[in-house]
Amino acid sequence: MRQDLNKDHHLRKRLDEYHIDIPDFPMKPNRWERFIHFLASPAKDPLDPLISTSNGLLVLKLVPIIGTTAIAFIQVLLIL
């Protein structure tokens, strides 16, 4: 199999192009640093599908208003 791959100069050349830079890091793990990396890693916006459509945007604006009204209504009912 290795001979087969060695004969294929083109594929070997392409595979050799896959270089990577190895960062400097200590042998001992630092739990705190890992936690910070986890918190700082960029994540998808959970509201992204809503923002991308006009209906979704409308829902996003109306939900807090309807929610606040509903809570206020419940409180009024409780007081009465």
Partner: protein
């Protein structure tokens, strides 16, 4: 003296209480371990975590290593591979439960040639990717790969054959598209 023999000697010294030998093992094997995990996952932080965890495990179970059973390099690759698969499976489970935790993939666009080979390797199915990485970039024998991945030698052979075939197809396809052939 061959590099693998030196690694094994350092490990025996470490098992006999020489703490400096561990540093030497780390210096020799940090790079291959990191590059294997990074090429497989394309996640820099994961690769660092796995290398560190591999060495934590090596220190914790230092007397479990037996030079008669195989090379230290294969032993460490086996630990790293198992840790990586466990971590990736756990991640997959979490991401299916909480999809918004999925990080945005950061890609380094250095130059077009690199992207192509990276993409071609990344496109390979997991089983074929790990075999081709260990075989080509880490110069491992099929028996060693079988031991690291815990699969029969025949499966290594067939996966390798499929991976090479697929890489050829991918790269040729890309060259036709870019008009370089």
């Amino acid at each position: 003296m061959r590099l693998s023999e030196r690694e094994d000697e350092f490990m025996i010294a470490y098992q006999n209480g020489d703490e400096e030998a561990l540093e030497k093992i780390y210096t020799l094997l940090r790079q291959p371990l990191y590059s294997f995990v990074f090429r497989y996952s394309r996640d820099e932080q994961l690769a660092i975590d796995i290398v560190q965890d591999t060495f934590v495990k090596l220190q914790r179970y230092k007397h479990d290593y037996n030079p008669r059973k195989g090379k230290l390099k294969s032993y460490l690759f086996q630990i790293a591979y198992r840790l990586m698969i466990t971590k990736l499976n756990r991640r997959k489970k979490w991401r299916s439960l909480l999809p918004f935790l999925t990080p945005i993939q950061k890609e380094e666009f250095l130059y077009i040639e690199r992207i192509t080979i990276r993409e071609a390797v990344a496109k390979l199915p997991e089983g074929q990717r790990e075999v081709v990485l260990l075989f080509y970039y880490h110069d491992m024998l099929q028996e060693e790969i079988a031991e690291i991945l815990g699969i029969p030698k025949g499966t290594v052979k067939s996966r390798l054959h499929m991976a090479i075939k697929r890489l050829r197809e991918e790269l040729e396809e890309e060259e036709y598209e870019t008009g370089s052939k």
